[in-house]
Subunit: 144 residues, 4 copies
C-alpha cells in the first residue's frame, strides 16, 4: 500500500502523542509501515479486570487506536481518521505481562477505511492471540 503522505511515520506518531487516553493507559508505538502498525503495553495491576485477566477495555482501546494509526499511515497530511464502527471477538482470557497489537489495513478507501487488529498476550515469553477486532474509520478533511 502506498502512503499519501511521505512523512507518514511522523503522522502516526502524532496520532499517538495527541491522544491523552492512550498515553495515560501506557500504550507504546513499536513499528510503523504503510498500512501496518504494531504497538505494545506493559501490563500493570491497574489494567486488570479481576483475578489476572486484562480488562476487555484495555484490549479494545489498543485495537482501536492501533487500527486507527494503521489507517492514519495511508492518509494525506490534511486528513484525519475517526472510528465509526468497531467489532471485537475475545478468543481467550488475556493473561500475561505484556500485550502486543498488530493492525493491518484491509481497505483504504477515499472516505472509509477498514482495518484488522490482532491483540496478543505474552505470558512468560510466549505469545498468544487473545482477541481480534475490525475497525471501520471515516477519512475526513482536517479542519484548520
Amino acid at each position: 500500500m502506498e502512503p499519501r503522505n511521505p512523512d507518514y511515520v511522523r503522522q502516526v506518531e502524532d496520532i499517538f502523542r495527541k491522544a491523552a487516553f492512550v498515553t495515560d493507559v501506557g500504550y507504546e508505538l513499536v513499528r510503523v509501515t504503510p498500512g501496518q502498525v504494531e504497538t505494545r503495553l506493559t501490563v500493570r495491576p491497574r489494567h486488570l479486570q479481576q483475578d489476572d485477566v486484562i480488562h476487555m477495555g484495555v484490549q479494545a482501546t489498543m485495537a482501536d487506536h492501533t487500527g486507527g494509526s494503521a489507517a492514519g499511515s495511508l492518509i494525506a497530511a490534511d486528513q484525519l481518521v475517526l472510528t465509526t464502527g468497531f467489532t471485537m471477538n475475545l478468543l481467550q482470557a488475556a493473561v500475561g505481562e505484556e500485550l502486543r497489537c498488530r493492525a493491518r489495513v484491509l481497505r483504504a478507501g477515499r472516505t472509509l477505511s477498514v482495518v484488522e487488529s490482532e491483540v496478543y498476550a505474552v505470558a512468560r515469553g510466549e505469545e498468544k492471540l487473545v482477541s481480534k477486532a475490525t475497525v471501520t474509520l471515516a477519512v475526513l478533511a482536517r479542519k484548520r
Copy 2:
C-alpha cells in the same frame, strides 16, 4: 427480568469494585435494577483523544463494563460473566463534561447473554446519544 441472586445489587457492586481498570479510569455505578445498569464518568483531560473528543476506548470500556454489570445482575451467586463479543457504532463525536451509559439485557440465556449499552455525552447539561454497543457474554461457573 428475574434476578437469580436476591443480593444482585451487591453482586454488581462487586463486579465494579474488583475491576481495577474501571476504577482507574473513573467510572461510577449510578443505578442497578434487574437486567439494567446505569453508570457515569466525569470527563477529564486524560480521557480525550484529540481536541475535545472523548477517546473511543473510554466509551468502549464503559459500554462493555456497564453491559457486563447488567448481565451480572441476572446470574446466580456462583456464576460470572465474561465478554466474548463486542460491537459498537460511534454515532457522533463525543464531547462534553460527563459520559452516561445505560445498559439493558436483551437476552439472558443459560450460557450466553446479550446486552445493549447506550453511551450519552452530556455537554452543558444536554444529553446526546454518542455511541451504541452490543455486548455478548458467556455465563460461566465461578471457580472456587
Copy 3:
C-alpha cells in the same frame, strides 16, 4: 425525522422492487414512515436451515434490506444507500410461519447512516424477537 424526498414512500418501494434477490426470497414491504420500515416474509420450506429453524441468511438478508430501506426513506432523490457494515445477534432459534422485520434509523448522517433492525418470528400467532442487527450504510450520489 424529516425525509429529504417528499416522495420517499415510492423511493423505498423502488429499493424493494429493484432488488431481485429480495423478490426471489419473498420479502414484502408492509409499512414505510420517515426513518422506519416494516417488512414480512411468509416462511416456506425453502427458507429453512435444518429441522424447522429459519436460516440465519434469511434473517440477515431481511435485516439488511429492511434497514437499507429505512435509511433510504430519508435520502434525497438523487442519492442511494449501500451497506458497508453489518452486525447481527441471533437471540433464539427462529421458528414459525412468518418473519417480521422492523427497522429504525439511529443516525442519518450526510455520508453515513446507522439503522437497527429487529427480526421477529411469528409462531401460532405469537411474535418473538429472534435476532437484532445494526446496519451501517454509505450515502452516495446516484450515478446518472
Copy 4:
C-alpha cells in the same frame, strides 16, 4: 486443527445438504479440510440487488454457512453448531460471474467457535476480496 469426527468431510456435506435455503440459493461445497471450508456460487440475475451488484444477503448467507461448515468440521459426531453472532464488512461492490468463500476457524472452543469468512467476487477470471465476516457459533449437543 484436529477433527473430533474422523468422518468430518461427510459431516460438513450433511450441514450443506440439510440446509434448504443454501441449496435454494445455489451455493456449492468446493473443499473441506479440518477447520477450513471453501464454497462457490454461480451468480444469476436472481442474486442481484440493483444494477450488477450482488446482494449483501447473498454474501452474508454464504459467509455464515461456509463459516458454520468450517466450525462443523471440528465438532464431534453428536454435536451441532448454531450461529449466535455475525459481523460483516463490505469492502467493495460485489460484481462478477462467480462468488467464492473461504472460511477458517480462528478458535474452536468447547462451547463457542469463532470463524472468519472471506468472500471473493470473480469478474472475467479475476478474483477480488469483496467482503469479510466473523461468525460466532455455539457448539451444542445434538438432540436425538
